[in-house]
């Protein structure tokens, strides 16, 4: 019971001060049938070494990306994280602080959030960004819901292949709203927003001008969804969009079997008051010193209750901090170079694969992932290979990804398997 500081004497003194004889007297308002009879059917407490052994035993049964040539992306990416990032986010003052509701003693968290918001706005070419959302899929859904509030319309058009899980999440939320729907097709006067994922789920980057014009013609909003935020170091910013949102796990956050990740959300100033999530803003204190504070909370559930722009309460604070630290380390040049290295690695992978007879790359263009077509027999065999994670299987094709983690040796290993599989 190493986490419990009360001593036997303290407990007994406190009971005396309250004026009861035992702790159960304090639970007297609770119906008797709700009490556990004795103890729950669970093991008793364990010391640190015992717990470490038990938890490590689970970890040892897994085959992590760091232990093998790894070509799986599809919305979550295996990138390098500088040692500085994890060191700083484990500082007590960041790790064990609460939401900065007392700003005088939370300026560290607040200034870092303001810096995060600035970075996201710069990267996406948008005016403002919020302090983060749960993940890319919920950010995408919140963008659709915001567009529905702004336009008072209920149809969402999916213009390019959207991550299938993002689409599922969107459909789940929309299923609870009367008349709401998402589909492919052309925008009409019923359309709240058009969603473009870029690079799309199959890795192809898109331009936005044509769809921007189509949206303007019918009064719909343009939402750009980005799965791989590193792509913004090489591809042009989606400045013409109304909302840009997606997943920022690639910068500073481990894949961690799907979470916690980092949903980002940016938009034009004119939609500010319809935004979901927390916002950090600059102000001054009584002495006129620059200070930061959570603001515009009249949009939020704790003030507006059933009329709030979203039911969201938390953000992904520590993940946003990790992102901010990693981006600060990268800087303008480092971030762009990282993007170029990702693209160069994908090009090297593509060139090696293009040499293999019977295997074809289906993308004309890509950033750091693309789809290869290969015989079904090869696909099945490569999936069974336990020494390499080849990518995300599609029907008779494979979505494969390269990042700065991908070595020439990894590429060789994959090609050897692909070549071998032909015979």
């Amino acid at each position: 019971m190493r986490y419990l500081p009360l001593t036997h004497k303290s407990r007994s003194d406190m009971l005396d001060a309250i004026g009861v004889s035992c702790v159960d007297d304090l639970f007297q308002d609770i119906p008797q049938e709700a009490f556990v009879d004795g103890l729950c059917d669970l093991p008793p407490h364990k010391n640190e070494l015992e717990v470490e052994r038990l938890i490590s035993a689970y970890a040892e049964q897994n085959n992590p990306a760091s232990a093998q040539p790894f070509f799986l992306g599809a919305g979550t990416y295996f990138h390098h994280i500088p040692a500085t990032v994890d060191h700083i986010i484990q500082r007590s003052e960041f790790l064990t602080a609460y939401t900065p509701y007392q700003p005088e003693i939370a300026q560290g968290t607040l200034q870092a959030l303001y810096e995060y918001q600035t970075m996201i706005a710069q990267l996406t070419g948008q005016d403002v960004a919020n302090a983060s959302l749960y993940d890319g899929s919920t950010a995408c859904t919140e963008a659709a819901l915001m567009a529905m509030r702004v336009t008072k319309r209920a149809e969402i058009i999916i213009a390019t292949p959207l991550h299938p899980h993002y689409r599922s999440v969107l459909e789940t939320y929309l299923g609870n709203i009367e008349g709401a729907d998402c589909c492919e097709g052309s925008p009409s006067d019923k359309t709240a927003a058009v969603i473009i994922q870029s690079p799309d789920f199959y890795g192809t980057p898109h331009t936005y001008d044509d769809l921007r014009a189509e949206c303007d013609a019918v009064g719909a909003l343009l939402i750009v969804v980005i799965n791989e935020i590193v792509s913004l170091g090489l591809l042009p910013a989606p400045t013409c969009a109304d909302i840009v949102c997606g997943e920022a796990q690639s910068i500073g956050i481990p894949m961690s079997y799907g979470g916690p990740h980092l949903g980002f959300f940016a938009c034009k100033t004119k939609y500010l008051r319809q935004m979901p999530g927390r916002l950090c803003g600059e102000t001054v204190d009584e002495e006129g010193k620059r200070s930061f504070v959570l603001t515009l909370s009249t949009r939020e559930q704790h003030i507006r209750r059933e009329k709030a722009t979203s039911n969201i309460c938390t953000n992904q604070g520590l993940c946003a901090l990790a992102f901010t630290i990693h981006m600060a380390l990268l800087g303008e040049d480092g971030f762009k170079n990282l993007a170029k290295i990702n693209h160069e690695r994908a090009c090297a992978l593509a060139e090696a694969i293009e040499e293999i007879e019977g295997v074809k790359i289906l993308n004309d263009t890509f950033f750091n992932e693309f789809v290869i077509q290969l015989p079904l027999k090869s696909l099945t065999k490569i999936q069974k290979n336990k020494n390499i994670t080849a990518g995300y299987p599609l029907e008779e094709s494979l979505l494969i990804t390269a990042t700065e983690m991908t070595t020439d040796k990894d590429i060789q290993a994959l090609c050897d398997v692909l070549k071998f599989e032909r015979f």
């Binding site: 639970f27 003052e93 790790l95 939370a106 200034q111 799907g258 603001t295």
Partner: protein, 493 residues
Amino acid sequence: MPETRALYQSEPLLWEKEQADHSGTDWHTPSDFKNRTGQTERGIIGLPQVTEPEVIRHFVRLSSWNYSIDNGIFPLGSCTMKHNPRLNEKMARLEGFAHLHPLQPQESVQGALGLMYDLQNWLAELTGLSGVCLTPAAGAHGELAGIMTIRRAHDLNGQSQRKIILVPDSAHGTNPATAVLCGYQTRTIATKDTGIICLKAFEEALTQTTEDGSDIAGMMVTNPNTCGLFETNIMPIVDLLHKAGGYFYCDGANFNALVGKIRPADFGVDVMHLNLHKTFSTPHGGGGPGSGPICVTEHLAPYLPRPLVVKDKETYRLEEEDERDSSLGRLKAFQGQFGMHVRTLAYMLSHGQDGLKQVSEDAVLSANYILSQLKDDYHVPFEGFCMHECLLTDQKQKDKGVSTMDIAKTIVEYGMHPMTVYFPLVVQGAMLIEPTETESKENIDRFIRVMKDIATDTQSGDTAQFHTFPLSAPRRRLDEVKAAREPNLRWRA
């Protein structure tokens, strides 16, 4: 006077620091770079460029302006700011967890799936609710998952005429916001006179528009509630609700009062979310990430979000996309905040059945101790023992010109974090104090001393000082009106 003094170091924004001509990482442009993106290269982004030593100093200086649970008591009511064991951090960072991709072949992640499966079982045992879904990313997301589960059950059982969710006025704001996001209307039950739901008020709300409550989808109640009280009428209330065909959603924000000692299923709960970042001590991280699994009765389990972790003989797997038609669908891209699941299981293994029960007992004991020591100095709106948090108001101080806000800022000046202020909304000038089980008596006594001193100084008329605090914090009181009226949400050159 220079801005930087002794251990207080001022620090500008990253963009305002000296900009380096090289990156804090040594990534170089690849030689003979070819562009196969089909697009022109990105122009200037505007990111700051700072070297590694300066990045570290920047963030370490910022960190020194934060108060945290590792600095001292953090008695925020309904937030459960307890000690965050570092073992849990170490465990979540093991390579075999941190570098797992959510779409990896399932035979390569049997340990991760096994851990999630075992966590599901622990939560089922603690709540008495056998259906567990770990997906939700935070408490509010768990509420959404829970209310969607209820709606899915009604819709598939020909009960779509049920459109109303009953919510007491003491509820967290997320409750009504969630109900609306699920396509429901809310109906408020007034509790401001009693602090708890009266049977009569409940019955009136239940039958306000129909005789038999057949338009009621369910009820969302935090229990213990946000006044720190157990809902003593919960059994007859839930009985009536169930007879009318509605479900009982319990907001699990306050589970720290019950864990290991009281099973929510046994006071009639059908659905409940658990805040792993509260009761199970995953760090709050300055506002997230949270994690909000939901637990439901066997009857509601078929409607839970997908994917659940299932066990076939000795193999674990995630459900397939088309496997359980009755599921409400997917709520997050992948299978939840897995890193938080690891921390939670490590925390629960450390405490065990005996430690978890001691957690709730110590949490309730500590809150009642504070209540007993302060009840003569501050107005206590609702009589009796409290659960893991106690509610006071500024009624006795207000007419001397000292408000809850002044009290909070004075606590800041005295080197502690204040309690939750102005919540719940059902009392004026609320102060909700939750010490948690991880404060020693010495720490609690120090907090009580500060509160007593404030009360004494107020009664003696020495109140002018309270409006000026904090004086010694990194900032004085902030102009929050300016922040909202002239939004400045990003740096610009």
